[in-house]
């Protein structure tokens, strides 16, 4: 972490960058927040640890409008989002300085709480990110790092940064699950079971828009679901079709653009596994139109703005045919 | 034979054969192709009109039913997908069904076999007597 701070100070000092976008220590050991650092002094509050899960690439849309370069720290998976945003002309590469940071998997306090741990006073992560010691009002607990890890880290995209100006720190292979296993599990269900599953999950939705607002692919200036222009604005949660429509259309709009960064599922206050929508589309795209990794580069045409003459017919795209 | 019964039989023939006799354009290619033409009293192309006119009794009594070799030449060559051979086969089945109980079972066949019989006739026989 100190290496990151030192390097940031250097780049600020020599005028390469005008500001630094990173994570700031929170008031608890587990709640760092995204912050801009404008000088060496502010950088004293900088933090980088297992809890720094936030994908900073989307913040660069606003940062690109500022005077001078912004130094940004990107984890390997964040770099895919960065590329995708570059492809869509949403950020300015010339106004960013990318330091790829090593990542050993990211954890969240929600997962720790899910283990039944309450009244957390502090969390300590050991040197090698193997174990977490949790001090609570009701006694101390030890948790395996992997058990507190976000879903996305169990199916990590890899240790490589697809874009960066320099890389600091080592990454770790955290994959211990099959990426499409959950999607396949659902695919194997009967229509009634599928419907029941998604109804149970989506009826929790409170339409807070956190998933959309955190999503680097959902970078629209004005979302269709906020726009009064097409009579498509939605705000009410009516435990009916509206949520499904919102989530299906959102998944559709980011299909071929979603890098599977997992932020949507991370931020959902109701713990809805929203990535299951996006991952279904990714699986379909891979199957129908060939392997495609959104954000792997900043040039390739996305699968939904492309075609071949012998693409699969919609009736053949569904399991039972139409 | 009552009118209703005839209608029903014509319907059955259409159903068994899967043939739409209205598709026939009366080109005669079936009759032109038929190896048994000369032995038939009702010619293959006429079968279509008999079914169209619900004249099933005449068909059922026709010796043509038993002269058809089931060689499928007419089925193969019919340009309109009418396939008169299927109509003949269906009419035959209708008659066989009405005979009731007079079926030939598969194990009865070997004893009746003559090694000199042509294969095609065997196939035809199967189709005639199987059910």
């Amino acid at each position: 972490m100190q290496e990151l701070i030192n390097r940031a100070k250097e780049l600020l000092a020599d005028g390469t960058v005008a500001r630094v976008l990173g994570w700031k220590k929170g008031d608890m050991s587990y709640n760092p927040e995204v912050a801009y650092f404008n000088n060496a002094e502010e950088l004293e509050g900088f933090v980088y640890n297992g809890f720094c899960a936030a994908n900073l690439s989307k913040y660069l849309i606003e940062a690109s409008k500022l005077e001078g370069k912004t130094l940004v720290f990107l984890k390997p998976c964040d770099s895919y989002s960065f590329n995708q945003l570059l492809k869509e002309h949403r950020i300015d590469r010339d106004k960013t300085y990318v330091i790829g940071v090593g990542c050993k998997g990211k954890i969240t306090v929600e997962k720790i709480r899910d283990l039944g741990i309450k009244g957390i006073e502090s969390v300590e992560i050991d040197e090698n990110c193997e174990n977490i010691t949790v001090k609570t009002l009701y006694g101390d607990k030890t948790v395996a790092y992997a058990d507190a890890m976000l879903e996305r880290c169990h199916v990590c995209k890899g240790k490589e940064h697809v874009v960066s100006d320099e890389v600091i720190g080592e990454s770790r292979d955290t994959v211990d699950a099959e990426r499409f296993a959950e999607v396949e599990r659902i695919e194997a269900m009967s229509p009634a079971e599928k419907f029941a599953f998604f109804k149970a999950e989506l009826s929790k939705c409170i339409r807070c828009n956190a998933c959309r607002n955190v999503c680097p692919a959902c970078s629209c200036r004005k979302c269709v679901f906020d726009s009064t222009k097409f009579d498509s604005a939605q705000k009410a949660n009516v435990d009916s079709f509206e949520e499904k429509m919102f989530h299906i259309i959102r998944a559709f709009h980011v299909a071929g653009r979603c890098t599977d960064c997992g932020e949507c599922s991370r931020v959902c206050p109701q713990g809805i596994p929203l990535h299951l929508f996006n991952r279904k589309f990714i699986k379909d795209i891979n199957k129908f139109y060939g392997e495609f990794k959104a954000g792997e580069d900043a040039e390739t045409k996305g699968p939904l703005t492309n075609f071949t003459f012998d693409d699969v017919e919609p009736c053949d795209a569904v399991k039972g045919g139409n | 034979m009552s009118f209703d019964k005839t209608k029903k039989q014509a319907e059955m023939i259409r159903e068994i054969s899967g043939v739409n006799p209205y598709k026939c354009m009366k080109c005669g290619k079936c009759s032109a192709s038929c190896p048994s033409f000369n032995e038939m009293d009702i010619k293959p192309h006429q079968f279509v009109s008999y079914v169209l006119n619900d004249d099933i009794e005449a068909l059922a009594n026709s010796k043509s039913l038993w002269k058809c070799l089931s060689c499928f030449a007419c089925i193969e060559r019919c340009p309109r997908d009418v396939k008169p051979g299927k109509l003949i086969d269906a009419a035959r089945q209708l008659v066989v069904r009405e005979r009731d109980g007079d079926y030939l079972s598969a194990d009865q066949i070997p004893e009746k076999l003559d090694p000199e019989l042509p294969q095609q006739l065997l196939v035809s026989a199967f189709r005639r007597y199987r059910r």
């Binding site: 002309h89 200036r221 097409f230 498509s232 | 032109a32 192709s33 192309h45």
Partner: protein, 662 residues
């Protein structure tokens, strides 16, 4: 809120017999925005249009809905009527209650209910319509004719005579097409070459006509009035300017074993060849697949004997790019392959031939120098059987479901010519129907029977069996006699079905012209616009649109020319105003729309945007209205809905959906 008038047409009894039009009027009167509703016998009539004009003036209508026939039929009529009455033509919507309702439903209650719903959808849409203004685009005063047969030649001559430049692109080495392969033409029996050659010469000599032979259309872009076409001039290996057409190269060429395409493979040609004596241009091409020089590197005889030094082995394909205002497709036909018709023994016996092959046999320049002889042994035939409808009127996938139209007449012609020249030959024709509508056509057929003694038998042939003695056993049926016929013949001639030239598929795709299940190009309207493709600026000439004989082809060629001239005579065209329109405030500048635009109509610009008080430079999409054709691909790819399609906007379509589903 709009002030909408709804006009319900009876279309005589076409609509009124199944739709209770009075009831429709009563119900739609209560729809939001509707201030006027009435019905009339024929809305498209002068009187009907006057009713609309009157209502627009008296009720101050801002939008109208006409419940009538398909908009593809009369949308333009009603738009013009509205425009004359002072209303923007795009404030008109049509509810299709004829083709989509009265004509397909029998139950009056059901049809009326559906008509009301269709009307509601149109009303909901027009409530959201906005006046649109057509733009303008220029017209390139040059036409392209694809195909150099009689259809293409006639179209080109007619356009050129009207004073416009025309290019003909022909894929074979010479213009002339199928007609040049024919011996005589019905019903007058004049020599085909004698009437065709002057036309070919005229086209070649015409100062307004440029002919690209041995060339193919490679790429088409643009739109009506402004097409850009790449033409591939295949390497001829002979310099067109130097060659004098003396023919020595063809005589001396040592490779003479290639089947002649012109003679339908019945004779051979040399590797360097002109397809036939009267070829235009009279410049040979080298068939590089057959030429020894190209195959082995050794030979070069033609170069040695050519006094003009025209042989150029190094020649390369050349791409010519040209702009056109109109394109006429005249790609013609070929006969179908008979591989699936084993019963006629076409592939087993040389003496079973197609009618087009018989044309070559009968022709003095053909493989038998015009003598009627068996191709197997050169013997004079005594007994010839003609079989009609080979592959035509077939509903299975071996043949074609349509009638090829020309076979009855050319078979009568062949029978008559044979009987005339060789009275010792017996001619029998097996037919299903003899179809001879046309001026002097039935008389012609009757002459073949009555004056020339041709034996017409109603019935088909089931089988042609080659016999060990070289004869052919024809097994047919005489349906009128109810007899099977076994006939020994020396030759059998098959009236083979015709199909559009296979090249038409590729061309249709390039032109985005629609094609039917049989690969015939679709006309804009089967009756009223038979020579226009639904794709603006593309016209149809000859058999590419459907089977026809020569006089019909020439007539249609002229008609296509007139339509093309009508287009070329205009300096400007009004463009479709239903184009895509970006909302700059919503645009993310992501380029998704530009990625899917088939016309390259979308570009990006960095602009200063004032978004409710926030002023910033943004990359936003711009649409070129002259290029945009209004498909709407961009609108769906745009996640924020910034891109919308005028005339078919998101809100309009959603309003229609809502109206139908409620």
């Amino acid at each position: 809120m709009q002030r909408i008038g709804v006009f319900v047409c009876h279309c005589g009894s076409n609509i009124a017999a199944t739709v209770d039009v009075k009831k429709v009027v009563e119900i739609v009167k209560n729809e939001p925005g509707v201030v006027h509703a009435e019905d009339y016998q024929y809305m498209c009539s002068e009187a009907g249009q006057a009713l609309i004009a009157k209502a627009i003036a008296e009720k101050n209508l801002t939008g109208i809905v006409v419940c009538s026939c398909s908009p593809r039929m009369h949308e333009a009529t009603f738009r013009k009527a509205a425009e004359r009455a002072g209303l923007n033509p795009y404030m008109v919507e049509i509810a299709n209650i004829r083709e989509h309702c009265s004509w397909i439903h029998k139950n009056i209650e059901e049809a009326t209910e559906k008509a009301v719903i269709l009307a509601r959808a149109a009303i909901a849409k027009v409530n959201l319509n906005a006046p649109l203004k057509a733009g303008e685009s220029r017209v390139t005063k040059r036409a392209l004719v694809i195909g150099g047969g009689i259809a293409g030649i006639q179209t080109a001559l007619d356009i050129a005579d009207a004073g416009y430049e025309v290019d003909i692109v022909e894929k074979t080495p010479s213009i002339g097409g199928r007609m040049s392969q024919l011996d005589k033409t019905f019903p007058t029996l004049d020599c085909s070459a004698c009437i065709l050659t002057p036309k070919m010469v005229e086209a070649a000599a015409h100062e307004k006509i440029t002919i690209y032979t041995y060339s193919e259309v490679e790429k088409v872009s643009g739109f009506v009035g402004d097409f850009t076409v790449d033409i591939r001039k295949k390497a001829r290996s002979v310099d067109m300017d130097k060659c004098t057409g003396c023919g020595v190269c063809q005589e001396k060429c040592p490779s003479k074993k290639t089947p002649s395409e012109f003679n339908r493979g019945l004779g051979n040609r040399s590797a360097i060849y002109t397809p036939f004596a009267q070829a235009i241009p009279n410049v040979p091409v080298i068939d590089r697949d057959a030429c020894l020089k190209f195959k082995t590197g050794k030979c070069g005889v033609c170069a040695k004997v050519c006094q003009a030094g025209a042989i150029d082995y190094e020649q390369k394909d050349e791409i010519v790019t040209e702009k056109y205002g109109a394109i006429v497709v005249a790609t013609g036909f070929d006969t179908i392959k008979l591989d699936n018709y084993d019963e006629y023994a076409y592939n087993q016996s040389k003496d079973v031939i197609t009618s087009l092959e018989l044309e070559r046999v009968m022709n003095a320049a053909g493989p038998t120098k015009g003598h009627l002889e068996r191709l197997s042994d050169g013997k004079h035939p005594k007994e010839i059987v003609f079989i009609q409808c080979v592959g035509s009127r077939c509903s299975d996938d071996r043949g074609k479901p349509y009638c090829s139209k020309i076979c009855c007449m050319y078979t009568a012609k062949h029978a008559m010519l044979i009987r005339d020249k060789y009275p010792d030959v017996n001619v029998t024709v097996f037919y299903i129907d003899v179809r001879t509508p046309g001026k002097n056509f039935d008389e012609f057929y009757r002459r073949a029977v009555e004056d020339y003694g041709v034996n017409y038998i109603k019935g088909q042939v089931g089988k042609v069996a080659p016999q060990p003695d070289g004869s052919l056993l024809v097994q047919g049926v005489d349906l009128l006699d109810n007899k099977q016929i076994l006939k020994k013949a020396d030759m059998v001639v098959l009236a083979t079905a015709i199909e559009p030239d296979p090249s038409v598929r590729k061309i249709a795709t390039m032109l985005t012209a629609s094609i039917d299940t049989n690969n015939f190009l679709t006309e804009s309207h089967a009756k009223l616009r038979p020579v226009e493709s639904p794709t603006a600026g593309v016209f149809l000439s000859g058999v590419c649109q459907g089977p026809k004989d020569i006089p019909e082809t020439v007539a249609q060629a002229g008609a296509a020319a007139v339509k093309a001239i009508g287009l070329l005579a205009k300096d400007k065209l009004l463009t479709n105003p239903c184009t895509a329109k970006p909302d700059e405030l919503l645009c993310n500048g992501c380029s998704a729309c530009a990625n899917v635009c088939p016309y390259g109509a979308i570009t990006y610009e960095v602009k200063l945007i004032n978004d409710h008080g926030i002023r910033e430079e943004r990359r936003v999409a711009q649409v070129n209205n002259a290029l945009c054709q209004g498909c709407g691909a961009c609108t769906v790819t745009c996640p924020s809905g910034a891109m919308d399609l005028q005339g078919f906007s998101n809100r309009q379509i959603i309003a229609e959906v809502d109206a139908i589903c409620r």
